[in-house]
Symmetry: C2
Subunit: 268 residues, 2 copies
């Protein structure tokens, strides 16, 4: 047993889709969340910049006595985690491997789509992971650079988002995929639009959710689950806490009642 | 005469619409440009964060021996310049006052529209300036939070942008405005879409362009124009220089042949 918190971070709000799943499947775990809202979006940044940002995010989370880190960000998991995993010196999970495993296991046709940011698609880590598990799989990636700005600006379930989603998804519709990875933790907020375009028969894999499932497995295997009655949640952001609390409630599907604190991330 | 450079900065590419005008109307001036591409967009950030970013941007530009700073960013001009102008200790111009003056002078009906980021509209500085000059003017603001992400991601002249622009501009169409300030220096890249929706009779004021016109006036009045044969241009960014050079050419309507350098802005 280990009651130390899990550290979770993302460029902004997206990682809350992972926190939501943690609340559901391991409600007794304590969580420290950091959303880098002062430097969002990550998906359009260079690797050098991302390396620096992610190292700072991890250094901040490690000021808490955490037992595990979840990089609840498709971009950071693709463009940074493979290069820095060894230096972190704490259990660490990204979103890529768990989502790739879930997709490979659940696809019948082995035709799998991946939606991600520009950086995620450039690094192709979802494709590599799926091919590792299932070499005969056909994987089709599509960069959706506007999805994060749309979600962070509160445009989920809008006509604008539908139009943009239709444009992005058009070429995937012809590929006969039966499984589609939402490879960025912001994208579950656009599930309605994506499902409407892709149809009910395409299975959507929520990468924030599968990362939480994977983290639970790690905690169990290492016998380091929490035995507290109820988990507590701490939220930190690098810009004004107000918007985060307001929009974060939409991600969690329940209001954020805890105090959201601002942290000067450049100091880490 | 004074051959020291003019320092120009913006959150990213937008300020190049001001540089383009500098090249046209004062081709002998030297320019140092900084685009904060590692922290773009500014329009959705809080004032506290913007204060910090803009102070760093200015400190960086002041490491060059500059004679003037142009804040070629509607957000920073609205949310920061009024509070820090006095501490800068160098001639400084934002985009708000020159654009407001141009609009007040050129509008016949005195019904004026202003497009800006969320922060720009929240501070309402264009409205204040126009009302100062012309108290009877009616001013209609509209926040267009998706325009900067669209421009920075290369979506000018796309169907997606047309759809979003139509949504933003709809309510301004009923107001009978004859003049519309593009209150963010990214927006001139969307001139085609905006003109198509608003019609040929609405005069579009390019705030980057009017800021350059104003800067020339200041240089003349203080007798500090450059007497070099041809101005030189130095470009700095806070993320990868590659994308900036590529997309920057579209703003300038000519390729950026100079070396674009990356600077670690958090150190300033």
């Amino acid at each position: 047993m280990d009651n130390r918190p899990i550290g979770v971070f993302d460029s902004g709000l997206g990682g809350l889709s992972c926190v939501k799943e943690i609340m559901r499947i391991m409600p007794n775990e304590n969580v420290v969340y950091f959303g880098d809202t002062g430097r969002v979006p990550y998906g359009s940044r260079s690797q050098e910049t991302l390396m620096k940002y992610v190292r700072q995010d991890i250094r901040f989370l490690k000021t808490f006595d955490i037992k595990m880190i979840i990089i609840a960000c498709g971009t950071a998991s693709s463009a940074v985690l493979p290069w820095i995993g060894d230096e972190v010196n704490t259990k660490i999970a990204g979103v890529v491997e768990p989502a790739a495993k879930a997709a490979a296991a659940q696809s019948r046709t082995k035709k799998i789509g991946v939606l991600g940011t520009a950086a995620t698609v450039r690094y192709g880590k979802y494709v590599d992971e799926i091919k590792n598990i299932c070499p005969e799989a056909e994987v089709f990636q599509k960069a959706c650079p506007m999805f994060v700005p749309l979600v962070e600006n509160g445009y989920a379930n809008s006509e604008v988002t539908k139009t943009i989603a239709r444009e992005y998804l058009e070429e995937l519709k012809d590929k006969d995929i039966d499984t589609l990875i939402l490879g960025c933790t912001h994208y579950p907020l656009l599930k309605n639009e994506i499902r409407e375009i892709m149809g009910e028969d395409v299975l959507l894999i929520d990468s924030g959710m599968t990362a939480a499932d994977y983290a639970l497995k790690v905690l169990k295997e290492n016998d380091i689950q929490s035995d507290e009655a109820d988990g507590t949640y701490k939220y930190f952001v690098s810009d004004s806490p107000g918007d985060f609390a307001r929009l974060g409630g939409i991600f969690l599907e329940k209001p954020i009642l805890e105090n959201v604190e601002k942290v000067d991330i450049e100091k880490y």
